[in-house]
């Protein structure tokens, strides 16, 4: 559509500016041009070569000759079936009817490349910029306080499900509020991106924005530090005590034992002290005095040596100084000579 050779805008940027494609990052051309990044996509996308050309805005006419040469040994079925004149006809007809097929192939190919790109360093950086600008919307859950969400897929295989929004605050996935996103394939974002984003940018303050961020950052970071490889304050900040809905009738809580009582609170639960989730440490603390001793003795043996070393260093230095004294004498001697 927008690929007509006259437009200065690239296919990629026009694709990303389409309605409903707000979640997409613009994949850099270098990334696409690196064949390694496209490994295995040939088999997944029909008319792969044409689609790739379309994405990269390569004029089909220009490399018609190369294309024909390559087609002979490549997988293109129509090329294999037809002879020279037929192929020419195919090129003519391609302009008219195949264009829409190529267009949809290009979209599929771009989506699959996109899935890989947003997990690369450049891609995830670009997505973080989009995230900061709030391009992916916010969590609809009341207790998540408008936490910004991340686009994810529930499958890496195209055609299975549409794009969903992952909320880092409640670790749940939601359907995008606008129906225009219900045509976007979830595989174009993939299962990995959401979780990888959190691991790549652990310092993001997920729960808040603006001035509060700065105020809270220092404080809460001091409180717990790291648990299970993440900042404690970033482990599901939207869950736990006070963030769970309690059903009430005229002010009285509905009992768990009631048939209509709460059954799903566990889904929004979180221990008051997140360090409880540090299973490895809890295991070490609760179990085997031996293992603890091992650790402690390691620590103890570690500390004294660390202490000894700085203590030893001056001695060394002194010795060096002593050793150096003859040198100094020499130097002095030399100086005195001078």
């Amino acid at each position: 559509m927008s690929t007509s050779s006259g437009t200065p805008e690239s296919w990629i940027s026009s694709f990303c500016s389409l309605l409903g494609h707000e979640y997409f990052a613009e994949v850099s051309e270098e990334f696409i041009e690196d064949d390694f990044n496209l490994t295995g996509l040939q088999n997944q996308v029909a008319m792969y070569k044409e689609a790739l050309e379309m994405i990269l805005d390569v004029e089909p006419e220009e490399d018609e000759d190369d294309e024909e040469e390559e087609e002979e040994d490549e997988e293109d079925i129509s090329g294999d079936l037809r002879d020279g004149p037929g192929r020419e006809r195919r090129h003519h007809s391609r302009v008219a009817s195949d264009l829409s097929v190529i267009e949809s192939s290009a979209e599929m190919l771009y989506g699959l490349i996109h899935q890989r790109f947003i997990c690369s360093r450049a891609g995830i950086q670009q997505m973080s910029e989009k995230y900061e600008l709030g391009h992916f919307g916010v969590c609809p859950r009341t207790n998540c306080n408008q936490t910004r969400t991340l686009p994810v897929g529930l499958s890496d295989i195209p055609g299975e499900d549409t794009v969903k929004l992952f909320c880092p605050s409640c670790l749940d996935v939601y359907v995008p509020p606008n129906s225009r996103f219900q045509t976007v394939d979830g595989a174009f974002f993939g299962r990995t991106f959401g979780a990888l984003f959190l691991l790549t940018f652990p310092e993001y303050d997920l729960s808040r924005s603006g001035a509060e961020t700065a105020a809270n950052l220092g404080r809460s970071a001091d409180e717990h530090g790291m648990v299970n490889g993440m900042y404690a304050r970033n482990i599901a900040p939207g869950l736990g005590r006070g963030k769970i809905y309690e059903p009430k009738i005229y002010g009285f809580r509905v009992s768990e034992v009631a048939r209509s009582g709460p059954r799903m609170q566990w889904l929004r639960e979180k221990p008051d002290d997140v360090t409880l989730l540090d299973e490895a440490r809890n295991f070490a603390e609760e179990h085997g005095a031996e293992s603890d001793d091992d650790d402690e003795s390691m620590m103890n043996s570690g500390r004294p040596t660390a202490r000894r070393r700085p203590a030893g260093n001056p001695a060394l230095r002194q010795r060096q100084g002593q050793n150096g004294s003859p040198m100094r004498v020499d130097a002095n001697g030399a100086e005195s000579e001078l």
Binding site: L171, L196, A236, Y245, I249, E256, R263, E279, H287
Partner: protein, 280 residues
């Protein structure tokens, strides 16, 4: 202001309440019966809450015939909407009101749960407070038992007190057959197919909380409401995980050296469960 224009137009063709519930943004409201509105008992205390109470009530019950300027009329109009909302909160917990709201719930007039695992379960409107002008309306999903913000801004500006904090809970007390089956299905964040440790640890802990709850309920012979098939499934799911953990612990024990350590490593699973129990 838009509403006002349509109001004067529709004045000739339909009643105020008809117009009100059919106007844009008021999809969450149901129509209050004439008898309910005219019974003074049902309006107890509202006269102090609503400005121009009598005029507002007249407008709502279609007996308004005061000659006044547009500004006054608009103020009364606003009061009438407020009054209608406050009566609405009381009306929807009556038998007739519940039945009307139930119809709307079945048609998913209040929208569908945005949570993916809830499979578009219909929502119910709810307030976070029964006092007006404090919190806007929220939507409650009976399946995941959580509250969500309405998608549209015109719904997000409706006062939550027009629905109240109790209505959706009363609905399921009155119609227990409608309580949806609960599901333990959930999203697990993964990177290249591997679970993320921090999230997975939280999930394990939450599953412990859930299992404790279900054990408590089983002891009391109360239905947990979880889908039966899924119960087994989820236990199947859990088992390999436990085995995995056990294997990991065994591996750690072996690493630390000695079969004796491996024997002690069998303890952690029970120890861990006991710990979870104490937390819950």
């Amino acid at each position: 202001m838009d509403d006002y224009g349509t109001e004067s137009d529709s004045d000739y063709t339909s009643y105020w309440r008809d117009w009100f519930i059919s106007s844009r943004g008021n999809e969450y409201f149901c129509e209050i019966d004439e008898e309910y509105l005219t019974d003074r008992f049902n309006l107890t205390g509202l006269n102090t809450e609503v400005q121009y109470y009598q005029y507002a009530l007249d407008l709502v019950t279609d007996v308004f015939d005061l000659d006044c300027d547009d500004e006054m009329r608009e103020t009364i109009e606003k009061s009438a909407r407020h009054l209608y909302g406050l009566v609405h909160a009381r009306y929807i917990v009556t038998t007739r009101g519940l039945a009307k709201m139930l119809e709307k719930y079945k048609k998913a007039d209040f929208g569908k749960c945005p949570r993916v695992m809830c499979n578009s379960h219909p929502l119910l409107p709810m307030g976070l407070s029964d006092i007006p002008n404090l919190k806007p309306v929220k939507l409650h999903c009976a399946r995941c038992e959580d509250t969500y913000n309405p998608k549209s801004s015109r719904h997000a500006s409706i006062d939550g007190a027009y629905f109240g904090t109790s209505f959706h809970n009363i609905l399921f007390q009155v119609y227990p057959a409608l309580i949806p089956a609960k599901s333990a299905e959930r999203y697990v964040p993964r990177v290249y197919g591997f679970k993320v440790h921090a999230a997975a640890a939280l999930v394990r802990w939450q599953n412990g909380v859930r299992d404790d709850m279900r054990r408590r309920l089983r002891k009391l012979d109360v239905e947990s409401g979880f889908k039966d098939g899924e119960d087994e499934l989820e236990e199947d799911d859990d088992d390999p995980e436990d085995e995995e953990e056990l294997l990991q612990q065994l591996a750690v024990a072996e690493y630390r050296g000695g079969g004796a350590a491996a024997a002690t490593a069998l303890v952690p699973t029970t120890g861990g469960e006991a710990q979870m129990g104490s937390v819950a």
